[in-house]
């Protein structure tokens, strides 16, 4: 009971509740939502695996975005960087029909991540060194980045037939879960350990709360801001690998399209304030999974295509309301009023009160 109380007070509580509400809803309304089967070749198969598989790239993006937002910045270029990274890896491996790689895959993967980091460093340079507003600075790459990706792929969709490429977001032989879930897990763990064992988290947080004070306290603010954007670029690079491996192709027009908005939403759902300061890595991860669960729910319920955005918007509003402190206070006040009214009347509505409680 004590543990439950402690959990109820923790920052993760509300995001987890929102996700649980969705999962419970799905369990009731979607047939076989929780069922997971083991296929003949030892892979797990089910909607839950799909959700995790598809939310990986968003989790990784949200990871980078959390730090950026914690320094009271924002990075809206990540979607375009995903497209660039996808273009790099696919053009390097090449689209040969006979399944031969033009260049070693390891090299292509490193190059894609490297390009992601470079993009992030460019953003960091503009924001940290030249003090350009984060939205404006990253807007540059957001609009130009997709063009760069187009240029690399020459406007075509490059399909990769080289078999090992699909392992990044697919199943390694004999593994029960797709590789990208392990990649995401490793990155989350790495960040968690860094937070626990070093004071990086504290630096980022103090820059977000008050950059001037942080500087007087001896923190190299410029370097911290530069690094968070570079890290966000790294995350986008990894994300691009996963996204392109999922479809085994680089689609410069559509890879990572609108993902920056989903990443920001994931961070917000996770309880991190967009004004910066305190941040919650765990919350962002849960937020990303929540967003993907929502999408999967819509498809599973068969919501028709033209109504999809509206239903999704309503669901997001409800999730945000569940997490809003103000809405909760209002709900509590309403409940208290109702209770006192009923107690005052002293009529035979005990059953109803019990039901309410």
């Amino acid at each position: 009971m004590d543990m439950l109380k402690k959990f109820a007070g923790s920052s993760l509580f509300l995001p987890v509740v929102a996700l649980l509400v969705l999962l419970v809803f799905n369990t009731i309304f979607v047939d076989g939502f929780l069922s997971i089967q083991l296929t003949e070749d030892g892979r797990l198969y089910g909607r839950l695996v799909d959700i995790l598989n598809r939310s990986c790239s968003l989790i990784i993006l949200a990871l980078g975005m959390t730090f950026v937002i914690a320094t009271s910045g924002i990075d809206i270029s990540v979607g375009a960087v995903v497209a660039i990274s996808a273009a790099v890896v696919c053009t390097m491996i090449g689209g040969r029909g006979d399944g031969v790689a033009q260049m070693p895959m390891a090299l292509a993967v490193l190059a894609a991540i490297g390009v992601g980091v470079l993009c992030g460093m460019w953003n960091g340079l503009l924001v940290a060194k030249f003090k350009i507003q984060a939205v404006v600075a990253t807007l540059i790459l957001m609009t130009a980045g997709r063009g760069v990706a187009q240029l690399m792929t020459e406007g075509q969709i490059i399909t990769v037939y080289y078999k090992p490429f699909e392992y990044i977001a697919g199943f390694l032989p004999g593994m029960p879960l797709p590789t990208n879930i392990f990649i995401a897990l490793a990155m989350v763990l790495l960040v968690a350990v860094l937070m626990k064992k070093t004071s990086i988290g504290l630096f980022v947080q103090s820059v977000g709360i008050n950059a001037t004070a942080a500087r007087y306290a001896g923190i190299n603010v410029t370097l911290v801001i530069f690094l968070v954007y570079a890290f966000s670029g790294l995350c986008a690079g990894v994300s691009g690998l996963i996204e392109s491996s999922l479809i085994r192709a680089a689609d410069a027009n559509n890879a990572g399209l609108n993902m920056e908005m989903d990443a920001i939403l994931a961070v917000a759902l996770g309880g991190t304030l967009l004004s910066g300061g305190k941040f919650y890595i765990g919350g962002s991860v849960i937020g990303a999974i929540t967003i993907q669960t929502l999408t999967t729910t819509m498809y599973a319920l068969g919501v028709s295509a033209d109504q999809l955005p509206v239903v999704k918007a309503i669901a997001v509003v409800i999730i945000c309301l569940i997490q809003s402190k103000k809405a909760q206070e209002m709900f509590d006040a309403w409940k208290a009023r109702r209770m006192s009214k009923q107690n005052g009347k002293k009529t035979s509505v005990d059953g109803k009160v019990a039901e309410q409680a």
Partner: protein
């Protein structure tokens, strides 16, 4: 000798004069044209955003050469103002006929009125325009999305009968799932309409059940994600997949494989467009058919232009022929494909 040099110079000057609009096609006509007056056509292309568009451009250039028409080609680089400028310059040059691929539907009234006042007929190619007065253009040449949808159903019906396939769930109806294009796009609406119409009118309508239809936004990623969900919901039931474009089908194929089913065998797959990737998938036995959306509109354009200038009456809407390519011809057709 002097004459030849003069001719060459004249030809070179023409190229320079007309070349400011962008790429210039090699016009072979000027020297050889002996009989009759040579036709000059001003043509404004959108740009080169895809393989499909490139094939479209090549077809028009080649057809002009074959028909002995002098083509003034202008590349608008994805901008309407460039197209309007090009059309104005065609009018100023006094070309015989103007053709263009409108980048957007609206905003053409003024410039088309100018062409009409100059008594130059206009042909709209490939895409639609919305103008207040339909007489501003003489003809529209393009692809027929409704018919593409029709063809999809016709092919499915024939194929199912020919292969004597039985519904996988053991019932009496084949279950169909559809991956739709972007919500609200005219192509998606018309392809779906054509498909449903053909199904409703068919004698075998009772044999098919439209199980689910969801948008995959014309992309591989979404096609894959939506198909994944279809498979979880109706896995053992799905007999047929119809995707509004090839890319979504290619994404869906990967999802079907992941589910441990055989695309092309367990689930019959048909889509529209006819891009190379789809032909490759058919050769690998993972897809069954693609209905072409034909970019090779050049020959029909030149033919129509000649008819108009000869004073013959032409239909307001002229559609290009579009093929249906089942898997058994894929290997033979792929090397000939131009896009």
């Amino acid at each position: 000798m002097k004459k030849i040099i003069a001719l060459l110079l004249a030809a070179a000057m023409m190229v320079v004069a007309a070349g400011c609009g962008g790429e210039q096609s090699a016009s072979s006509g000027s020297g050889s044209g002996s009989g009759g007056k040579q036709i000059t056509m001003g043509f404004s292309q959108i740009g080169a955003e895809s393989e499909w568009r490139t094939a479209n451009t090549e077809s028009i250039k080649q057809a002009a050469k074959d028909a002995g028409i002098n083509l003034q080609f202008s590349d608008a680089q994805q901008k309407q103002e460039n197209q309007i400028k090009a059309i104005r310059s065609f009018i100023a040059q006094g070309v015989d006929i103007i053709a263009f691929v409108p980048i957007v539907e609206t905003g053409w009234d003024t410039v088309l009125k100018e062409a009409k006042d100059a008594k130059i007929p206009v042909i709209v190619v490939d895409r639609d325009v919305k103008v207040s007065d339909d007489s501003l253009y003489v003809a529209k040449i393009g692809t027929d999305s409704v018919k593409e949808g029709n063809n999809v159903f016709k092919w499915i019906d024939e194929y199912m009968a020919k292969e004597k396939k039985t519904p996988r769930d053991g019932g009496s109806q084949y279950n169909v799932v559809v991956l739709e294009g972007t919500v609200g796009s005219s192509v998606a609406i018309r392809r779906q309409e054509g498909f449903k119409d053909a199904m409703a009118k068919s004698a075998n309508a009772g044999k098919y059940n439209l199980l689910a239809s969801q948008t995959g936004e014309f992309t591989r990623q979404k096609g894959q994600e939506v198909m994944e969900s279809f498979l979880k919901s109706y896995g053992p039931k799905i007999d047929i997949l119809f995707a509004h474009n090839d890319d979504m089908a290619l994404g869906a194929i990967q999802a079907i494989e992941k589910a441990g089913l055989k695309p092309g065998k367990d689930i019959t797959i048909i889509s529209i467009d006819g891009v190379k990737g789809m032909f490759q998938a058919m050769i690998d036995g993972k897809a069954n058919c693609t209905v072409e959306c034909n970019p090779l509109q050049g020959p029909l354009l030149m033919e129509t232009a000649k008819k108009i200038l000869a004073g013959e009456k032409v239909e307001k809407l002229v559609y290009v022929d579009e093929g249906v390519f089942p898997a058994d011809v894929a290997a033979k057709t792929l090397p000939e494909r131009k896009y």
